[in-house]
Symmetry: C2
Subunit: 291 residues, 2 copies
């Protein structure tokens, strides 16, 4: 089964080790052992997320490797941001077909390494395998938040106002994880999540976890273009969706990101109100995952 | 791109959530949020490993789902055991083709959940995607070891004796992770790793990380069958390979597992000595990964 003494795989692993760099500080052991060894800060809690990029599902075959490697890191970072966390460690598993050009693989790894380093995240391990089909890349990202300080999806209450950061529906080529914003929302937001599947779907997730409903005003949604459909359903915004008590002052810009109030939490139902004041159920038309 | 509002995916996620069970204790938040939230024990260190099972590479198409789900957990647990750790959390990412029978997927998830629970490991999250090709499943496992107490690959010194647990080359259908043995080796072993790629390859990894050589006596290798080749190169033993000082007393059974001394560390070269006393380089003929 599989590759034995595969020279290309060996070379790849050597490159990964070089790209990942030295361990140090609280990362006591990194690539090269059975596990990474991490010394957690006793005053903090650990937050962990995993995500995937699958060829033909999340991107088209032939997309540039470097951008995809960076994108996978960005998706992990966006989840850490949504918890109000600081990213610490990243792990990368890849299943790559032997037909994939070596240059593409190295570009992907470079993109991954560069984006992780940019956000002060140590590449601490992973796994390489072959596959006779589409490429699958999987990230695990580990971060830290103050004890009891993580921003959860479950803290919204009826009456809370609903906010989003940035503009929706633009499908940016590059993810700018809202890490500074997430940290600034500690103690401000009652619930928070990142917008990866599209507002129409993600708001349902937040409402489900909090046991509330919502009414969104269509005219308030900060759509990047003219299409409300794109802003609601396209997904891959990587902005933050959060709630706060009516009595909490929420600035129009936080950590240099524009913040827009788009509606309010109710007791049940997730509705969208048009310019004429008509309300209709907001159908979740974005992506579905479990995180 | 991909599945939107895919009913089958939704149902799968609901099943996963049910299978994974409630969070609690130090796992403050689990499936359903952007990240899991974990309260690390301030007296311990965190160990983290990732691994993959790829259809057509690690198993044949049509292999039973339940055994594979359990196997993926077993592989993660074996890495935690090799560090002398206690397993705590497991995360599962899957990329599954739509052609895969739902029954198979549920079996896989059941196998994963049951094996995790058996070893007191909480299923804390993951991701589900479709793929137009072979199945890829990826695990992240998080464990804990005493501060500075993790068994590393890098601690062997020339003169140390080399040991393996159990029998090699049997390719057991079911992985029995050597968790109790790993913990018993804290303060005993100078270096340790699990045998997943085959002794001939794994011993090179240990020697590389420790900066030592080794001489193995072929006649001492506890082969499960008559074939030395299988014992050296088949891999997937999930036994522990470890070293200890000559002055350290190592019992013939530890945590109910037979322990065999197979050789000793030298300054350089990885050699195997046949019954007649002839030494030859031990070629790494097992699997290659990076961990």
């Amino acid at each position: 089964m599989g590759y034995k003494e595969d020279v290309q795989e060996r070379a790849l692993i050597a490159r990964i080790r070089k790209l990942a760099g030295q361990h140090g500080g609280r990362l006591r052991v990194s690539i090269g052992d059975d596990c990474a060894v991490w010394k957690p800060d006793p005053g903090l809690e650990t937050v962990i997320t995993t995500d995937q990029l699958v060829e033909g599902v999340h991107y088209l075959s032939g997309s540039p490797g470097r951008a995809l490697g960076a994108r996978l890191v960005g998706r992990g970072l966006s989840d850490i941001a949504a918890m109000g966390g600081d990213p610490r460690l990243a792990f990368l598993n890849v299943a790559w077909p032997a037909t994939l050009p070596e240059r593409w693989c190295l570009d992907f790894l470079h993109g991954f390494a560069t984006e992780a380093r940019r956000w002060k995240t140590a590449w601490a391990g992973g796994d390489v395998s072959s596959v006779a089909g589409p490429s699958v890349a999987s990230i695990t990202m580990i971060g830290e938040t103050p004890k009891g300080g993580a921003l959860l999806r479950s803290g919204a209450r009826a009456g809370d106002l609903i906010y989003v950061s940035g503009k929706l529906g633009a499908r940016p080529r590059k993810i700018t994880p809202r890490l500074a914003l997430g940290k600034a929302l500690r103690g401000v937001a009652t619930a928070c999540m990142d917008l990866s599947d599209g507002l129409s779907t993600d708001l349902h997730h937040l409402c489900d976890e909090s046991g509330v409903g919502a009414v969104i005003e269509a005219k308030r949604i900060p759509a990047a273009g003219k299409s409300l459909h794109h802003a609601l359903n396209w997904g891959e915004d990587y902005e933050l969706l959060f709630t706060a008590r009516v009595s909490t002052r929420v600035e129009a810009r936080i950590a240099s990101v524009p913040i827009t109030c788009i509606g309010r939490c109710t007791r049940r139902g997730v509705l969208i109100e048009d310019a004429a004041g008509h309300r209709a159920p907001m159908e979740p038309r974005g992506w579905e995952h479990f995180s």
